[in-house]
Symmetry: C2
Subunit: 341 residues, 2 copies
DNA sequence: CTGAAAGCGCTTACAG
DNA sequence: CTGAAAGCGCTTACAG
């Protein structure tokens, strides 16, 4: 029943022996470097075929070749936000002939153990980093070595000149909230912040405040909660407001994920959206237009962020001069959850 | 402005030189192998600290050490299904001291180019594979080399003895459909299949048919559509039925994602769920209980599948005897979308 | 067009 | 307890 398993994978030496050439020649046909006689190429390729040879990448990268893959460091993968981002990254990567490898848990420096993030120069030519906590030993080590790095949705900390790609959060949030104020006349507008330290959330809140201020609406701290860009947490934040009888006529949920949590909480409490309370999100993830009511939100070009970030990273990898800071435009998307038809 | 960047990372040789010992000794303190005098340990550690040394993992794995990371090969990352899976995998991996690396696009053998999947023995001690198309050269190569492999939600093809972990799809689907028949009296029950070739979908459809047959309901091919386990596609499948005036009183959507698409389509068409049409899903992803109406579905222990799969993989990595086939139980979860209160 | 040889950064017997 | 040396599988000048 059990299949025969050769215990050893074929190496370049096996191929060379079988083809009757040197390993240097095999390497040349493998990489297309240097001239090789046509017949030799054929013989070597046959041998590789025969032996089912694939180069050992660790050896390759040790010997100084690039890995042709880029890495993505993420805190988590839940949420409608990530698929478009990853799609953008993969599109960008593929376009430039790179593969994308993902490591999806928060990097927690382990007690004493020098355990690096599993994505670095051994398997990767550069890293895309999406994280809130940048005070990271490992990141610093990579940075100081000049390892190609690009930051997603976050400006580089002062002193580190790492290119970063993000979106116009403040402007988007402001136009969204101004829409609620000027078109619908809402004045009790609640805001659900993202995770602590999250930069997107910081700017969105600023946009929210600017909009209020521009229209003479005093900022009310009671109307700021924490949704953490998460449907479940947003839901309970709203339930909490409802329980405490906080009055509001609209909620800017921080992002679309949280908006869907808000709508669930309101519906559960017997409130109609948008008739009793308007709800708006941010991001315009794919399901936003499918929701009932369809979600008014801000289109953040998530996929484009991904493609652009890859482009910058690859520029750095190729030794070029990257754009230090890319700020992609956002755009108000008016649908029904704000009260528009 | 620009920070000083040492062009070269510290190597074991640098550490050895600074500490005044041989590289063998540095290696020993690094790995805790072999005896080293306490004072020597301290000196070496100081040197490592000083130089900000991290071992070059490619060199390490070339020299024969394990990578302590496992890889996950996935066709995509969209959908509420993946986060719990990945959480399970990470829990399992962490438990055993392994890291998890993800590669998320379909492996497409490129024309002639011998481009292996970017996850293999160079950066990984074993691979978890989630895919529909297993006729994969690369997978076969790994298998034949005896590289540790475990399949997710898919039985091993005949001849390959690769451990696999999946759930009781057929039984779950059957009890779900029987609930619709016996408790609610529905007889026109539609089914939305998953992606072509998907094994989960195959078994779910079988369970669906068994339930119909057991209750004397003839199978009607007009009531089988394709939702691809995707909300958008499921939505248009239902819209299509509606347009063609296909009559049904309940839909088994294939999975929860598709169920949410069905509900959107029905709602858009002015139909009430569950009053006009009942909708049920499969998986019990986190948002299922948050939907309106809350979704009747089958709980598939996604996270447990992940943990179990890692357990098997690590057994194989350690040279142990894995369980060849693990079938985790599913359970009917009755909520409101079927018509129950 | 091709090969011999050094080197990438580590681990691991083997001596001492 | 410690070091010299071989070897992991490749790439890349350097000769020829």
């Amino acid at each position: 029943m059990s299949v025969q398993r050769p215990s050893r994978r074929a190496t370049i030496t096996d191929v060379a022996r079988m083809a009757g050439v040197s390993i240097a020649t095999v390497s040349r046909v493998l990489n297309g470097t240097g001239p090789v006689a046509d017949e030799t190429v054929v013989i070597v390729q046959q041998a590789m075929e025969e032996l089912n040879y694939t180069p050992h990448a660790a050896a390759r990268s040790l010997a100084g070749r690039s890995t042709e893959t880029i890495g993505l460091l993420l805190p988590r993968l839940s949420g409608a936000f990530y698929p478009p981002l990853i799609r953008g990254l993969e599109t960008g990567a593929k376009e430039h002939g790179f593969d994308l490898l993902i490591h999806a848990s928060v990097y927690v420096p382990q007690d004493g153990a020098r355990r690096p993030v599993p994505l670095d120069e051994r398997n990767t030519d550069g890293l895309l980093i999406f994280t809130d906590r940048l005070d990271d030993t490992e990141i610093n080590r990579l940075y100081e070595q000049g390892f190609p790095l690009v930051l997603l949705y976050r400006a580089a900390p002062a002193g580190l000149n790492i290119p970063s790609v993000t979106v116009e959060n403040k402007r988007g949030a402001r136009s969204l909230v101004e829409h609620l104020i000027t078109v619908h006349g809402y004045r009790r507008i609640a805001y659900l912040a993202g995770p602590r330290g999250n930069e997107d959330s910081y700017w969105r809140e600023l946009g929210y405040r600017e909009a209020l201020e521009a229209h003479g609406i005093p900022f009310d701290p009671d109307l700021v909660g924490r949704g953490d860009f998460d449907d479940v947490l947003a839901r309970s934040a709203v339930e909490d407001w409802l329980r405490r009888r906080v009055a509001f006529d609209a909620i800017f949920a921080g992002d679309d994920e949280a908006a869907s949590g808000c709508i669930m909480a309101l519906r559960q409490a017997g409130k109609q959206v948008p008739d009793d309370v308007a709800v708006v999100g941010f991001d315009d993830v794919p399901f936003a237009r499918l929701m009932a009511p369809s979600l008014t939100t801000v289109r953040a070009p998530i996929e484009t962020v991904g493609e652009e970030a890859v482009r910058q990273l690859i520029t750095v990898i190729h030794g070029g001069e990257p754009v230090p800071f890319t700020l992609l435009p956002t755009e108000l998307v008016v649908r029904q959850s704000c009260g528009c038809k």
